[in-house]
Symmetry: C2
């Protein structure tokens, strides 16, 4: 065996669940992808549901830390926006299926998701909130709530990956051109956002 069997299974489950979702995934496919017998899945994780929970919670957990870290960092508001966009786009570039997986399954099991999130009580880092409120108060940026600004930033980063096939179809792109499209956002998106909120 190259690796621990449990790890082999988790890797395979990640791959299949992320691509096909819970309802579309077959235990047999996961077993094949892991190169092991189907029975082993149940031996290690008891049920499809339990195996899925592991993968889903792991996925959700990977979605937010980068955002929280940057918004908590010792930076100016403008620096945080710039760094967040750049680092998050880099993250999404190597985790292209993650947003779609998390959003799809979150919408299939909203309650379960809400409970999981409430346990981990994620909140918008207060230092970011205060920076926005202060900048607005001093008239340095347009009046915007921290929540709206953050949702705008994440929307602009994540949506193009969710809608990749749509963008490629409408804009008549191939995969290479789409990568260039994202590369371009890497450079221009921070400016776009900073312009949107500047008052001067």
């Amino acid at each position: 065996m190259e690796k621990d069997t449990e790890q082999q299974i988790l890797e395979a489950a990640r791959k299949i669940f992320q691509k096909q979702g819970f309802a579309g995934a077959r235990m047999q496919e996961i077993a094949d992808a892991a190169g092991i017998n189907k029975s082993m899945l149940h031996y290690y994780f008891r049920s499809k549901d339990k195996l899925f929970q592991k993968i889903f919670q792991e996925g959700v957990s990977r979605f937010f830390p980068l955002i929280m870290r940057v918004l908590n960092a010792d930076k100016t508001l403008e620096e945080k926006i710039t760094v967040l966009v750049q680092e998050y786009l880099d993250f999404l570039r190597v985790n292209r299926q993650l947003p779609h997986f998390v959003i799809h399954e979150m919408n299939q099991h909203p309650k379960r998701f809400r409970e999981f999130m409430d346990e981990k009580d994620m909140e918008i880092p207060s230092s970011f909130v205060e920076q926005v409120l202060e900048a607005v108060h001093k008239g340095r940026i347009q009046p915007v709530t921290p929540a709206q600004l953050l949702v705008n930033i994440i929307s602009l980063c994540v949506f193009p990956f969710l809608a990749q096939n749509m963008v490629m179809a409408v804009m008549q792109m191939d995969e290479e051109q789409f990568d260039e499209f994202i590369e371009h956002r890497h450079k221009e998106l921070p400016t776009f956002i900073l312009n949107a909120i500047r008052t001067s």
Copy 2:
């Protein structure tokens, strides 16, 4: 019978497929939702796959016309942006499940989707493209490609609905507060975007 049986089925299929996706939907559920026998589904549509195609193509077809109509209208660039945001948010407000459904199934069947889109050869309306290029050339707006600008607009409109449960969890909102959150975007998003591209 209140309505035509075929229509009853299509309504039920719309509801179930949009909520649970192709893989998660059960023919029995659709039959129950339509208040008819399971056999009738096959009598009218032959197979689950054929029934799904109808619903999916109908869904895709509803996603774009509003965008195209506004971008083609006899308006200035600034008016188009403002009207597009407002009308599209209104459309999404009463079609909340549509973006998630279309994006999910598009990602499950990229080829089938691409072929369908290529048939209908949707393109960005040339009048919008020319307006952006000219405004950039004259220095009236920041240098931005029509494609990037359009993706930014659609991202800012659609993503919050896709991520509704995520936003509600992180921001500790209930449904009512989320509706207010969207209502707020209705007012502020056009300004946000116009600010982002203005040069003056």
